[in-house]
């Protein structure tokens, strides 16, 4: 992804740390973000996302490390001098000002001429579809409208970077999905670099060019949504993003990118591919996503695939797809999801049905311990 401009990224964070007393909230992270990227920082509660974002905005002083923006070291700049704007988790819309005054506040501080402010604010309100609400006070707005005021206010100064702290967390599901696409359109239109903090992995997947998965103040993996989903680099990432089945095992033979793993958990040896095969005899873990597993009532005749036998313990019908929990003979439970392709006049799979599950060796991810 970051091939050609490797030594001058738009945003560069070097060994950035933040300690609160003994507690390490952000632990020596490194990060490069390209111009115009929509970058997400994804992690569970308390992992340090907000703290990292606040250091980028200038509200927290880093314990150590530097931040560069467009080649300039901004680590010691106060927030009001940084060409960076932030949209707060609580929106922080000024309650004593109208929508219009809220949006124009940043431009007034720049001492922009009045008619120019009016036209810029008008433009921005049109962009977030709030033209008709310009003279309302925030307490006369809905949550979604307030969120758009906050967005317009942060965008109107045309910052180099927009930081968004859980921008959609307070919205209901429908509005959230709608706003996700609006955000992407706006970002596309203005070409501003977005750094979005979220704990919602689906949101991160939909929105971003790249995702950084954060845990306890460190980045576990940085990559495109596809990379972090299909090629998680460790157990935490595999587990955190989506659902995944893991099979513990010992490498029996390895060579030419192909390995065979003896797994007591499923009573079989499984095959998998990986670029840098682990040593024979080492403990590893194979991870397979539910949608990569086929389910059938007859034994598949392809002996390339890993195939296991089990009993349907439980299933859920979701309309477009069904989720199955299948208990293997060893007692291990595997999750499988299947598209409901046919409008079934034939019999559905039911509880206690004997089934075979199988997957391509290339579908399994090898995670070393």
């Amino acid at each position: 992804m970051t091939g050609k401009d490797n030594d001058k990224s738009f945003i560069e964070v070097r060994e950035l740390s933040k300690h609160f007393g003994e507690f390490v909230a952000v632990d020596a992270v490194n990060l490069r973000i390209e111009r115009g990227e929509l970058f997400s920082i994804l992690g569970g509660s308390g992992c340090g996302k907000t703290t990292l974002l606040r250091m980028l905005a200038g509200f927290e002083t880093p314990t150590s490390g530097r931040i560069f923006l467009d080649g300039v070291d901004i680590t010691d700049q106060p927030p009001y001098e940084r060409p960076v704007n932030m949209m707060f988790q609580s929106y922080a819309v000024f309650p004593h000002m109208t929508v219009e005054q809220n949006v124009s506040y940043g431009l007034q501080k720049e001492r922009m001429p009045r008619n120019e402010i009016a036209s810029r604010v008008g433009e921005m309100l049109a962009l977030v579809k709030l033209e008709d609400y310009a003279s309302r006070k925030p307490d006369q707005l809905s949550g979604g409208q307030r969120q758009r005021v906050a967005l317009a206010r942060a965008l109107v100064k045309k910052p180099k970077v927009l930081l968004l702290d859980e921008p959609l967390a307070a919205l209901d599901r429908k509005l959230r999905e709608h706003t996700q696409f609006e955000l992407m359109n706006i970002q596309d239109e203005l070409g501003i670099t977005f750094v979005v903090v979220t704990h919602d992995q689906e949101e991160a997947m939909i929105l971003s060019n790249r995702i950084a998965v954060m845990e306890q103040g460190r980045f576990e993996q940085i990559g495109t949504p596809k990379e972090v989903y299909e090629f998680p680099c460790n157990r935490f990432v595999a587990d955190f993003i989506g659902t995944i089945n893991t099979f513990e095992g010992v490498v029996q033979t390895s060579g030419e990118g192909e390995i065979t793993v003896a797994s007591d958990e499923c009573g079989h040896s499984l095959r998998a591919y990986c670029d840098t095969p682990p040593r024979n005899g080492s403990d590893i873990c194979l991870a397979v996503r539910p949608e990569k597993i086929y389910i059938s009532q007859t034994e598949p005749d392809n002996d390339e695939d890993s195939c296991l036998r089990g009993v349907i313990e439980d299933f859920g019908y979701f309309g477009n797809l069904s989720l199955y929990r299948i208990r293997l003979e060893t007692g291990k439970v595997v999750q499988v999801s299947a598209q409901n392709r046919r409008r079934s006049t034939e019999r559905f799979l039911e509880w206690d049905d004997q089934v075979f599950i199988s997957w391509r060796p290339r579908s399994a991810v090898v995670l070393e311990n």
Binding site: F94, R153, K157
Partner: protein, 266 residues
């Protein structure tokens, strides 16, 4: 059910009667035509007229108002600064100590506050020659010191309830810290400041003990005058004066309460 509610109702009546009958009797007797404060002699408003002709009362009233306005204004100024400092400047050294200390004038016995201030003024006079006489200036200073504690607490609780990211957002949009204080913080704590001012005003108007300590000859506030007159016997014009004061104070409290209520809303 019915029985119980009647019981509750009579408790209510008794409680309020206990509170308000003494006050009511003052109001009623202020319209008493008799020269004796405790014997009813028919309805009249003559004591209100007498009051207006009494120069001593008028000058004490003016002094009290002058002090109350000055002290309330100063207390609001300093109290607001203290409140902002305590809730916004992060965790500076000794912050807990200061938070505790700001409230101590509220719980300190007035006699002690008065005595300590008197000692301060006397020492100050010996060292610097100021204050040459005790009166308006010294009482104002004394009232400011204890009223600012109340203002600081009101402002601080308002700031604590206010989302700090509002100020951060303003700073993020390019506002220097001082501008942010003027643009965002002050407008939002204004109701608290007004409520604080009114409270300080009322407290100052009301105070007898501290004022008695720090005032000198000729510097009599209204409560001091009333107290000294009562020592010679209750005259009906005192009732009239007390009624007027009650009117002012309840008006002040009502306004402060209304503003305080509006402040509750986000």
């Amino acid at each position: 059910m019915k029985r119980q509610s009647r019981f509750v109702f009579s408790m209510l009546v008794f409680g309020y009667a206990f509170l308000y009958v003494p006050l009511l009797s003052v109001v009623v007797y202020s319209f008493n035509d008799s020269n004796l404060a405790t014997i009813w002699g028919g309805f009249s408003t003559r004591w209100y007229g007498e009051l207006l002709k009494n120069d001593q009362v008028i000058s004490a009233l003016l002094l009290s108002l002058k002090i109350a306005i000055s002290a309330a204004t100063l207390a609001t100024l300093f109290g607001t600064m203290a409140g902002i400092a305590l809730s916004r400047f992060g965790r500076f050294r000794g912050r807990n100590l200061f938070t505790g200390m700001i409230t101590s004038p509220m719980v300190m016995p007035e006699v002690i506050t008065g005595l300590s201030l008197l000692l301060l003024f006397v020492t100050l006079q010996q060292l610097t020659g100021w204050p040459t006489q005790r009166g308006y200036a010294t009482i104002t200073i004394a009232h400011t010191t204890f009223a600012m504690a109340y203002v600081a607490v009101i402002v601080q609780s308002r700031l604590a309830a206010m989302d700090q990211s509002l100020e951060e957002a303003a700073m993020d949009l390019g506002g220097h810290p001082f501008r942010v204080m003027l643009d965002i913080t002050l407008p939002l704590i204004l109701p608290a400041m007004v409520a604080g001012w009114l409270l300080a005003f009322t407290l100052s108007l009301d105070d007898l003990v501290i004022a008695s300590f720090v005032s000198g000859p000729g510097g009599s506030t209204l409560p001091m005058l009333i107290f000294s007159k009562v020592k010679l016997g209750v005259t009906p014009d005192i009732n009239a004066l007390a009624t007027l004061i009650m009117l002012f104070v309840s008006a002040g409290v009502l306004v402060a309460w209304t503003i305080g209520r509006r402040m509750q809303r986000p």
